[in-house]
Amino acid sequence: MSAEAPRADDHHLAKTDETAMFERLSRSNLVTTWKWYLGVGVAGAVLLWGLIVFLYMAMVGMGVTGYNKPVFWGLYEASLVFWIGLSHSGTLISAILRLTHATWRAPVLRGAEAMTAFTLMVGGLIPIVHLGRNWRVYYALPYPSSRELWPNMRSPLMWDAMAITTYLIGSLTFLYVGMIPDLALLRDKSAGGRRKFYSALSLGFRGTHAQWRRYHVASTLFAILIIPIAVSVHSIVSWDFAMAKVPGWHSTIFAPYFVVGAIFSGIAGVVIVMAILRKAFRLESVLTPLHFDNLGKLLCTMTLLWGYFYFTEFLTVWYNRNPEEWEVFSSYAGPYLPLFLTMIVCNFVIPFPMLCLKRVRRSISLILVPAISIVIGMYAERLLIVIPSLARRNDPFIWANYFPTWVEFSVMAGAAAMFVLLYMLFAKFFPIMAISDIKERLFHTADRTIGGTTVESIAQVEGEEEAHA
């Protein structure tokens, strides 16, 4: 990936003709390289392996994992939080950016929203994976049966299930609604079976004035609605822990802390995905250093916010020295020191100074360093939330440590592969760039000369909101 900023000509898509622009933006849908097949093959194989191991675990018993008493939750549950956290990338970012009229958002939107949908799908499956009797998961569904048994709505797990389902439906709708004009575009540009496929999906969108109007109303409405859902989802995920009588989990700060952590890891995830998309589908002209700079600034803010939350949580426990909680935090200096150091270093020590530098933010290869480190750091953080609290339960006599076995690693690798696979398939068959949004923005965009330099304007041109239609 080039660290140099692309030449000014390149990223002015407005200067190219429409077909060229379409081809450039839809490269993922048009060209299929051997790398794509390889990627799908590898991801598919890993997913298959994960599935096989999962079946093995389900048939032999959870004993093949590293779980024990008292650590009844471990890598699976930490991964659940991690994946749900990653899901806060897209919808939330794109909704906030949409609502705040951040015009640079357009190329980032689709990729981020898709990421939300797929991380949620992966994350939403993990609660089923971790069950002792997965085949009885339907007991948790509120369906009428002759036994007249209902799920327990007092259980945070039920809230969780509902929140994740709501969020998944919401974010899928959000993703889909935003995609309709682009699907229509793809329909118009394709033929044969593909055309049928896209015309069915584009729901007869023809770009009339009324349709655009409704489209804009709908997406703004969804953007407003999805934000409280997103916040509530991760709050509820945090309550899986915070509601419990487990020292280290039972904390009032958990809900906002989890939301911040989720957005934090989500943005980092978006940065990584964007960098990969940019490289893989040659979108250098669309995804410019400007976007990475902006994401980097967001990330930098989140680093500080995360650090603040962590500090606050630690401070109260440290000051209070409630023995039960203190045992948990002490174990950070014991067997969980590597995890703790990973978290602190990857979440703060590396990213914060780096993200303060414009040079780093504007260099795609350099900004990947803090982004990747944050994703690792946040995984470590999730593990650190789930495991030590259980490993240092109230009764010190039964303390035990936990280390996952190959089974957990395999299944979770399968989960990651599932995400990659879904994403690759999506990029292949759906518009990964919000073409119409980009086009819309381009009409608003012009080079402005300020003093001696020419800069790209990202301000919205007033009164032109619907001019495009």
């Binding site: 032999v60 018993g61 959870m62 004993g63 590293g66 779980y67 024990n68 008493k69 008292p70 009844f72 939750w73 609660p127 971790h130 069950l131 002792g132 009797r133 997965n134 009885r136 998961v137 007991y139 948790a140 048994l149 209902w150 799920p151 327990n152 007092r154 259980s155 945070p156 797990l157 039920m158 299930a161 899986d240 509601m243 419990a244 009588k245 487990v246 259980l390 339960r393 109230n394 009764d395 010190p396 006599f397 039964i398 035990a400």
Partner: protein, 232 residues
């Protein structure tokens, strides 16, 4: 009649001998898991005897604390089960319904006493050891939680017998296997709803305390403090 079953454990009498553990094994179809699994902290015992050390040589001492399910009045485990596999029954006991359990293990996480155990596998009884399995209660399959039930099968039998004979359950008629066998008589079981029962009397002892009282779980297992002799 509504019962309020409770257990008293007199730490002044408990010697830590572990008879309760094996009695429970025999009564409740508790599987043997073998050395490798035991090394992974997965013992299936429904009652365990914690042994803590205190002090340094020559003043070192051991403190024994037998821990069955506390049958909390406000049980944290019950709230968090998504399918009501564990709930408060009419006698105020924490019921655990194996065939409803889906194995989230959330209840075990939420139990501050860590008395719940999980069936990590389908445990097997080598023939003919399976002849010993009690027909009175389920042999649990893999993937479900289990825990001490205060020997619910004995309570059920006693209730049935009492109902057939048209009377109330007598004090001392029901005892869980652990209480029954306890050699020094450190454990006592009874009905707190009966003002004349032995346990009601015993629990007036000022030595009584409950574990982790600050958590507000209101356990039904009450301990009586170890008394210290004159000592040095």
């Amino acid at each position: 009649m509504k019962h309020t079953w409770a257990m008293a454990i007199d730490l002044d009498r408990c010697t830590g001998c572990g008879a309760c553990v094996v009695a429970c094994n025999a009564e409740n179809n508790i599987p043997v898991i073998g050395e490798a699994e035991a090394g992974k902290n997965r013992l299936m015992h429904w009652i365990r005897v914690n042994r803590y050390w205190e002090g340094e040589y020559p003043e070192a001492q051991a403190v024994y604390l037998p821990i069955p399910c506390m049958q909390c009045e406000r049980a944290p485990c019950e709230l968090v089960c998504p399918v009501y596999a564990t709930y408060h029954n009419e006698d105020g006991l924490n019921a655990m319904v194996y065939n409803r359990c889906i194995g989230t293990r959330y209840c075990a996480n939420n139990c501050p006493y860590s008395v719940r155990v999980f069936n990590w596998y389908d445990y097997k009884w080598e023939k003919p050891l399976d002849e010993q399995l009690s027909p009175d209660l389920t042999v649990r399959s893999r993937g479900v939680m289990e825990k001490c039930t205060f020997c619910i099968q004995r309570i059920r039998r006693a209730k049935e017998t009492a109902a057939e004979e048209g009377r109330e359950i007598r004090d001392g008629e029901v005892v869980p296997a652990c209480v029954q066998t306890c050699p020094p008589g450190a454990m006592l079981f009874g009905d707190l709803a009966d003002p004349h029962s032995e346990i009601t009397r015993k629990l007036k002892d000022p030595r009584r305390f409950r574990l982790m009282e600050h958590l507000g779980t209101e356990p039904r297992v009450v301990y009586l403090k170890r008394q210290k002799g004159a000592g040095r």
